[in-house]
C-alpha cells in the first residue's frame, strides 16, 4: 500500500475518532472535549498538508494518481457474470489532495472558531462531535474511488448536515429546515442513484476507472440516450447537494444552523461536493448532458443573484450568493471549463468561509442579530472583522488581484469559448447570464458591506417585540450573553478570519494577477479527456470510444490511435498551449476558444463588477437613489426577488401538499376499500345477525371478508329451512327425492 494511501486513511479516520469520543464522552471531558476536536482536526490538516506537499509540489505531475482498494462485498461466482466483487477503495490525485487540505484546513479553522462562537451552548460537546462526523464523510467523498462509496458518504454528509442544521432543534424553524434539507437532498440522490445503477447495470462495477475504461472500450450496450440520461441523473446528485435549481430551496433555510456550520458545510465544503462529484464523472458526460448542466448552472447563478439583492438577513444574502457561485462552478463544468470551475470551487471555499465566519463574528457580537437593517457602523467596533470581510467580499465580487477574479474569469472565458464553439445563438445566453450575475454579485455585496459596516448603528430602530421574539427563538442558547456593547471577537474567532482572508489573494494561486491559467492550480488540474465522444455526427460514438483517454488506465492503451500522430491540427494547436492532447476535437476546440476569449472575459467582467459596485454606491453610499423608493417603483419585481421567486410557495403547494394529500387518500383507500371491501358488507351482515354484535364485528375483510359475507347471508337464508316443524322436514324430504327423480328422469328420457 502506498504510503500516501496509509496517510490518507489515517486522515479519513481521525475525524471519525473525534466523533466517537465526543458523542459518548463529551460530558465527562473537561471543556466538553472541544480541544479533542480541534486537536484532531489540526493533526489531520498537518497530515493532509504533507500529502499536498508530496503530490503537488514534489510530484508536480498533472496525471499523478495513486489508488488502492479492497473487496468489501464478495458476491461469489454469479451466474452469467462470473466472480463479482464490490470493492471499496481510495484514490489520491491532484484534485483530491488539494480538496483534502482545503477541507481539513477549513474544518480545523471552523472547529477553532466554534470554541468561541458556541461557547456555553448546552450541547457544546455534541456540536464538535457532529463536526467530526461531517468532516469524516466529506473526506470520504473526496477520497473514494468508486460511485458506491461516494454515494455512501454523500448520504452521510447529508446526515451530518441534517444534524447540524437542526442543532437548535427546539426551534421549529430549525427542525423544518433540517427536514427540508434532507428531503431535498434525497430527491437529488434518487437521480444520482439511478445514474449509478445505469452504469453498474452495464459493467457490474462501481469503480470510476473501470467504468471509464469499459465506456471507452465501447462496452456500453444501451443506447446513447441512456448514457446522456445517466449523466443528467448523476448530475441530479449535484443539483441536490450543490443547491442548484430546482432543488436550491433548502440551502437558504439551512442557515438556521449555527453560523460556523453554515461556513463549513453550506458554503465551503459540502455544497461544493456536488461540483467535485460532477468533476469526477466529467468524462462520462455526453455533450447533451453537458448542455443541460451548463444551462442549469447559468440559470441558478442568475436567479440566486437576483434574490440576494433584496434579502435583509445577512446570512441569507451570503447563502444566495453561495448558490449563485455554485451556479458558476456548475456552469463552468457544463461549458467544459473543467479546471476553471474546480479552481473557483477552491477559491470560493476560502473566501466564502471567511465571509460566513465574519458574519458569524458580527452576529455573535450583535447578540444574534442577523438582520442587516438593524446593523451598521460596525467597522469601528470590529476592525479585524471589517478588513477580512471586505477582502473576502472583493474576492467574491471578483475584483482583480483577488483569487475570485482568477477563477471566475477563467469560467466566464470558458463560457464564451463554449458559446463560440457551439455556434452562438442561444448558447450566448450562458456567458451573458454569467456576466450579468457578476454585476449583481458586486452589487449585493457592496450593499451588504455598506449596510453592515458603514453608516450609523441602527440597532435602536428594531421593533422591541421583534427583538424579544428573536431572543426567545434561541431558547437557552444565548442566555449567557448579557447585553453589553458590541466589541471585536476573541482571537480564536479572529485567527480563522485572517487566515482565510489571506488565502483569497491572487498570489497564492498564480504569479500573474490576471491569468489563473499560469498558476500551478490549473496546470495541475487539466481537463480530462472525455470517453463518450462528441455529438458531431461525423464523429460517432464508437469512433470516439476507441480514442485514447490519456490518464485512464484502460485496455484501450494498446489501441493504435490514428489521431495521435500530430496530424490533428486541433490537437497540435491545443498542445501548443502546454495542455495535454485532447482526443475529442470538441473539447479541444472549447478549451482553445476559451483561451482565445480570456482577455475579452477580463474586460467585460471588470466592467460589470465596477458597474455593480458603482450601483451599490449610488444606492447606499451616496444615497442618490433611495432603495426604498426604487423598491416601490418596481414593486412586482422587488417582491418577486424578495420572495425568492416564490419557489417555496410553489413547492409547498404542489409537491408537499400533493404527497400529503395522496398519502391521506391512499390511507383512506386502505382502511375503507382494501381493508373493507366488506367492512360495508360487514354492516349489512350485522343487520342479519341475531347474536350480540360482537359476532359479526369479526367478519373479516378483503377476500375472506367477501366470502364471510356471502357465507353469512346464505347461512342466514338456509337456516330458515330449519323451521322446527317436523312436517316441513318431511315435505322437503319428499320434494328433494321427487326433484332428483324428475331431474334424472329428464336426463334419461331426453
Amino acid at each position: 500500500m502506498h504510503s500516501l494511501i496509509q496517510l490518507s486513511i489515517v486522515i479519513l479516520l481521525l475525524p471519525l475518532l473525534s466523533f466517537v469520543i465526543l458523542i459518548f464522552f463529551n460530558r465527562r471531558l473537561p471543556r466538553r472535549g472541544d480541544f479533542i476536536g480541534v486537536g484532531i482536526l489540526g493533526t489531520a490538516f498537518v497530515l493532509s498538508l504533507y500529502i499536498f506537499w508530496q503530490v503537488i509540489v514534489q510530484a508536480y505531475d498533472p496525471a499523478f494518481r495513486v489508488a488502492w482498494d479492497f473487496t468489501w462485498i464478495d458476491l461469489g461466482n454469479v451466474p452469467g457474470v462470473g466472480p463479482l466483487k464490490i470493492k471499496m477503495g481510495i484514490v489520491i490525485d491532484n484534485i483530491a489532495s488539494i480538496m483534502l487540505s482545503m477541507v481539513t484546513l477549513i474544518s480545523f479553522l471552523v472547529h477553532l472558531y466554534s470554541t468561541g462562537y458556541m461557547a456555553g451552548d448546552k450541547n457544546y460537546g455534541r456540536f464538535f462531535a457532529y463536526l467530526g462526523i461531517f468532516t469524516f464523510s466529506m473526506l470520504g467523498i473526496i477520497l473514494s474511488d468508486n460511485l458506491f462509496a461516494i454515494y455512501i458518504f454523500w448520504e452521510l454528509v447529508g446526515l451530518s448536515s441534517y444534524l447540524l442544521i437542526g442543532f437548535f432543534f427546539e426551534k421549529e424553524s430549525a427542525a423544518d429546515a433540517q427536514k427540508k434539507a434532507f428531503l431535498a437532498n434525497r430527491v437529488g440522490d434518487i437521480g444520482m442513484w439511478l445514474g449509478i445503477l445505469i452504469l453498474y447495470s452495464q459493467f457490474h462495477t462501481f469503480n470510476y476507472q473501470e467504468i471509464y475504461a469499459n465506456l471507452a472500450a465501447g462496452k456500453f450496450a444501451l443506447s446513447n440516450g441512456w448514457l446522456t440520461a445517466a449523466g443528467i441523473l448523476l448530475f441530479m446528485g449535484c443539483v441536490g447537494k450543490s443547491a442548484q435549481f430546482p432543488l436550491h430551496v433548502w440551502l437558504p433555510d439551512a442557515m438556521e444552523g449555527p453560523t460556523p456550520v453554515s461556513a463549513l458545510i453550506h458554503a465551503a465544503t459540502m455544497v461544493a461536493a456536488g461540483v467535485y462529484f460532477v468533476a469526477r464523472i466529467f468524462v462520462v458526460l455526453t455533450p447533451d448532458a453537458l448542455h443541460v448542466i451548463a444551462f442549469v448552472g447559468a440559470f441558478t447563478a442568475f436567479m440566486a443573484a437576483t434574490i440576494a439583492i433584496t434579502q435583509h438577513d445577512i446570512k441569507r444574502v451570503l447563502a444566495y450568493s453561495t448558490v449563485s457561485q455554485l451556479g458558476y462552478m456548475v456552469l463552468g463544468l457544463g461549458v467544459g471549463a473543467y479546471s476553471a470551475s474546480l479552481f473557483h470551487l477552491v477559491t470560493h471555499a476560502f473566501f466564502k468561509a471567511c465571509l460566513f465566519l465574519g458574519s458569524g463574528a458580527i452576529i455573535h457580537a450583535m447578540h444574534h442579530e442577523q438582520d442587516m437593517r438593524w446593523m451598521g457602523g460596525l467597522r469601528k467596533q470590529m476592525p479585524w472583522t471589517f478588513v477580512t470581510f471586505t477582502l473576502a467580499t472583493l474576492a467574491l465580487a471578483g475584483l482583480p488581484l483577488t483569487s475570485g477574479f482568477l477563477s471566475k474569469d477563467a469560467i466566464l472565458a470558458g463560457a464564451i469559448g463554449f458559446a463560440e464553439v457551439e455556434g452562438g445563438g442561444i448558447y450566448y445566453l450562458i456567458p451573458f447570464l454569467g456576466f450579468f450575475s457578476a454585476m449583481l454579485t458586486a452589487f449585493y455585496m457592496g450593499r451588504q458591506i455598506w449596510l453592515v459596516f458603514f453608516g450609523e448603528s441602527r440597532t435602536h430602530l428594531k421593533p422591541v417585540d421583534d427583538q424579544h421574539h428573536d431572543h426567545n427563538a434561541h431558547g437557552s442558547h444565548d442566555d449567557d450573553h448579557s447585553h453589553h456593547g458590541v466589541h471585536e471577537v476573541a482571537w480564536n474567532m479572529r485567527a480563522p478570519l485572517v487566515i482565510l482572508a489571506t488565502l483569497s489573494v491572487f498570489f497564492v494561486y498564480s504569479p500573474d494577477p490576471l491569468d489563473g491559467a499560469k498558476g500551478w492550480f490549473m496546470k495541475m488540474i487539466p481537463t480530462p479527456a472525455t470517453v463518450v465522444g462528441s455529438s458531431n455526427p461525423q464523429q460517432g460514438f464508437v469512433h470516439a470510444a476507441v480514442m485514447q483517454a490519456p490518464h485512464v488506465e484502460s485496455a484501450t492503451h494498446t489501441v493504435p490511435d490514428p489521431q495521435h500522430e500530430g496530424t490533428n491540427p486541433v490537437a497540435q494547436h491545443s498542445s501548443a498551449h502546454g495542455d495535454h492532447v485532447y482526443s475529442d476535437p470538441r473539447q479541444a476546440a472549447i478549451v482553445h476558444a476559451g483561451h482565445g476569449a480570456h482577455y475579452t472575459a477580463i474586460y467585460i467582467s471588470s466592467v460589470m463588477v465596477i458597474l455593480g459596485i458603482g450601483l451599490a454606491c449610488i444606492f447606499y453610499v451616496f444615497g442618490v437613489i433611495d432603495p426604498a423608493k426604487t423598491a416601490l417603483a418596481i414593486r412586482p419585481l422587488y417582491l418577486f426577488s424578495f420572495n425568492k421567486w416564490y419557489w417555496d410557495e410553489i413547492y409547498q403547494a404542489t409537491f408537499i401538499r400533493g404527497s400529503v394529500l395522496i398519502a391521506k387518500m391512499l390511507s383512506w383507500f386502505d382502511t375503507h376499500v382494501v381493508d373493507g371491501i366488506v367492512n360495508g358488507v360487514a354492516t349489512l351482515v350485522r343487520k342479519f345477525a341475531f347474536l350480540n354484535n360482537s359476532f359479526d364485528k369479526h367478519v373479516v375483510d378483503g377476500l375472506v371478508n367477501f366470502t364471510a359475507f356471502t357465507v353469512n347471508t346464505t347461512g342466514a337464508v338456509l337456516r330458515k329451512l330449519q323451521t322446527g316443524k317436523v312436517q316441513t322436514y318431511i315435505v322437503m324430504l319428499i320434494l328433494v327425492v321427487f326433484g332428483y327423480f324428475v331431474f334424472y328422469f329428464s336426463r334419461i328420457v331426453y
Partner: protein, 512 residues
C-alpha cells in the same frame, strides 16, 4: 304353494347354522350382556349407580376380546350370505364398541341424569343393544338384514333420545326423530322392494351381479329405487338434504346420546352405505349410469358438497354449542362422503381414518361440553365467557378438539383431512374442485369453531365469578388423555392409518 324341504336339506341347513354361529360370538355375547343389564337393573332398583356403569363398561371391554378373536377367522359370509365377517366389519365392531364405552363414560360424567332419570339400567341396556344393531349394520350383506339392523338402531336411538321424559326438548327431539326416521326408512324399504323386484335377489353380491348383467334396460325403476334407498342411508348419515332431523335431535337429546349419535350411528350409516355402494352397485364397468339408472357418484357428490356448504355455513349462526356441533357433524358427513366418492381402496382408507379421528375428537368435545354444562348449567356460547381462566384444563382440551375439528396440524383431524384430500387428488385433477370446496368450507368452519375459544379466553365473564370451577380429578385425566391422543395421532398416525388400510377390504369385492 311350496313343498317342505327334505331331511337332507334340513340337515345341511342346521350344519351351516352351526358353522355360522362360530362367526357370531361377539354379537351373542353382547346380547347376553344386554339381558344381563336388564336383569341387574331389575334387581338393583337404584338411581344412576356406578355399579351398572362399571358392569356395562367391563362388559363392552370383554366384547373387545371376542372381536379380537375374530381376526383369526377367514373373512367370509355366513347365515346363508345374510351376514359377513371381514376386516371392514371388524373395524366397525371395534369402533362401535369403543364408542359405546365412551358413551357410558360420558354419561357417567353428566349430572343431568341424576336430575332427570329414575333408573339408569335400561339406558345402558339400550346403549348396548344399539351397539349390537350397529355392528349388524356394518356386517349385514342382505337387504333384509340391513333393514332389520337399521330399525334396531333407530328404535333404540328414538328411545334414548327421549330418555329424559320430563324434558320437553328431549321428547320433542324423540318425536321428530321418530317421524322423520320412520318415513325415510319406510321409503327406503319401498326402494328395497323395487330393487328386489328388479333383481329377484336380496343378497348384495347377487344383486350386484344381477345388475351388472341386466340393470341397464330397467333403468327407470332402478333410478327410483336408488333414490329411495339413498333417502334411507342419507337420513342415517345425516347428510344434506336428509339432515333435517339432526340439529333438533342433537340439541334435544341427552348430550351423551348426542355424542353417541353424531359419531356412532353416523359411522354405522357410512358402513352400510359403503358396503351397499361398493358391493351392490357394480362399478367395475365403465359408467354407472349406463348400468343402473342413476349415477351414484354424482348423487354422492351433490350430497357431500351440499353437506359441507350447508353444515358449515349454517353453523356460523348457532349460539347453542350442542347445536353448533350438530351442524358441524353434518359438515363432517360431507367430508366423509368425499372419501367415498373416490370409490377406491385409498378412498375407503381415508374415510375410515377420518371416522377414527372424528370419533376421538367429537367425543372429546362433547365430553368437555358436558363438564362445562355441569358447572354452568348452560350450553350457550355466551355462558362460555371467561371459562378459560376458571376451567383451564377443560378450556385447553376443548380448544385442541376444536382445532382438530377444523383440521389444523398437529392434530389427528388434520391428518384425516389430509388423507381425504390426498385420496381425491390421487385421482388427478378430476376431483380437484371437490377438494377446493372442502378446503374453503374448512376455512369457514374455523370461524365458528374459534368462537368457542374466543369466548372462553378472549372475553371476560359477565357475572364476575372468578371462582375456579373444579371438575374433579377423573375428568381432568380423561380430558388430558383424549387431548394427548388427539395430538399424538396427529404426529404419529401410522398405526391408525395402517389399521384403516387393513380394514378397507370388503368381502366379495376387490377394490383397486
Amino acid at each position: 304353494m311350496f313343498e317342505l324341504p327334505s331331511g337332507a336339506e334340513i340337515q345341511s341347513i342346521i350344519a351351516s347354522l352351526k358353522a355360522s354361529v362360530g362367526f357370531f360370538i361377539p354379537e351373542i355375547y353382547l346380547s347376553v350382556l344386554f339381558m344381563l343389564l336388564i336383569v341387574i337393573d331389575l334387581v338393583t332398583k337404584s338411581k344412576k349407580n356406578i355399579l351398572l356403569s362399571l358392569i356395562t363398561l367391563s362388559g363392552l371391554t370383554g366384547s373387545l376380546f371376542f372381536i379380537y378373536q375374530q381376526h383369526s377367522l377367514q373373512s367370509s359370509e355366513f347365515f346363508f350370505g345374510m351376514y359377513v365377517l371381514d376386516e371392514f366389519a371388524l373395524f366397525f365392531k371395534y369402533f362401535f364398541v369403543l364408542s359405546g364405552m365412551l358413551a357410558v363414560v360420558v354419561t357417567m360424567a353428566d349430572d343431568q341424569f341424576d336430575r332427570e332419570v329414575k333408573s339408569i339400567g335400561e339406558y345402558y341396556a339400550l346403549i348396548v343393544s344399539m351397539v349390537i344393531g350397529m355392528i349388524m349394520m356394518a356386517s349385514s350383506q342382505d337387504l333384509l338384514m340391513i333393514f332389520l339392523s337399521m330399525e334396531l338402531v333407530s328404535f333404540t336411538a328414538y328411545i334414548l333420545t327421549g330418555y329424559f321424559k320430563k324434558n320437553q326438548r328431549s321428547s320433542e327431539a324423540a318425536l321428530k326423530y321418530l317421524i322423520y326416521g320412520a318415513v325415510s326408512s319406510g321409503l327406503m324399504v319401498y326402494g328395497f322392494s323395487l330393487l328386489y323386484g328388479l333383481t329377484a335377489q336380496t343378497n348384495l353380491i347377487k344383486i350386484g351381479i344381477e345388475l351388472a348383467a341386466t340393470g341397464a334396460d330397467k333403468s327407470l325403476v332402478m333410478m327410483l329405487a336408488s333414490l329411495l334407498i339413498i333417502t334411507g342411508f342419507g337420513y342415517k348419515i345425516g347428510a344434506v338434504p336428509f339432515h333435517f332431523w339432526a340439529p333438533d335431535v342433537y340439541e334435544g337429546a341427552p348430550t351423551p346420546i348426542t355424542a353417541y349419535l353424531s359419531v356412532a350411528s353416523k359411522a354405522a350409516g357410512f358402513a352400510l352405505l359403503m358396503r351397499f355402494f361398493y358391493v351392490a352397485i357394480p362399478h367395475s364397468t365403465a359408467t354407472l349410469s349406463s348400468i343402473v339408472g342413476i349415477d351414484w357418484v354424482t348423487l354422492l357428490m351433490i350430497l357431500s358438497v351440499a353437506s359441507m356448504i350447508y353444515g358449515n355455513v349454517v353453523a356460523l349462526w348457532q349460539k347453542n354449542v350442542k347445536r353448533l356441533l350438530a351442524y358441524s357433524s353434518i359438515a363432517h358427513a360431507g367430508y366423509l362422503l368425499l372419501g367415498l366418492i373416490v370409490m377406491g381402496k385409498f378412498g375407503t382408507q381415508a374415510t375410515l381414518f377420518y371416522l377414527l379421528s372424528y370419533f376421538l375428537v367429537n367425543f372429546g368435545a362433547f365430553y368437555v361440553v358436558i363438564l362445562i354444562a355441569n358447572k354452568t348449567g348452560s350450553e350457550n356460547l355466551d355462558d362460555y365467557k371467561g371459562l378459560g381462566k376458571t376451567m383451564p384444563v377443560a378450556g385447553a382440551a376443548l380448544t385442541v378438539f376444536l382445532v382438530s375439528l377444523v383440521g389444523l396440524p398437529p392434530t389427528v383431524g388434520f391428518i384425516g383431512k389430509l388423507m381425504i384430500f390426498s385420496a381425491l387428488l390421487a385421482k388427478g385433477s378430476v376431483y380437484l374442485w371437490l377438494a377446493f370446496i372442502g378446503i374453503m368450507t374448512s376455512v369457514i368452519s374455523l370461524y365458528y369453531y374459534m368462537l368457542i375459544p374466543l369466548n372462553m379466553y378472549l372475553r371476560e365473564p359477565q357475572q364476575a365469578t372468578g371462582k375456579a370451577m373444579n371438575t374433579g380429578i377423573v375428568p381432568k385425566v380423561i380430558m388430558s388423555v383424549l387431548m394427548a391422543l388427539t395430538i399424538y395421532f396427529g404426529l404419529f398416525f401410522t398405526s391408525l392409518s395402517d389399521f384403516s388400510k387393513y380394514s378397507s377390504s370388503l368381502f366379495g369385492i376387490v377394490l383397486q
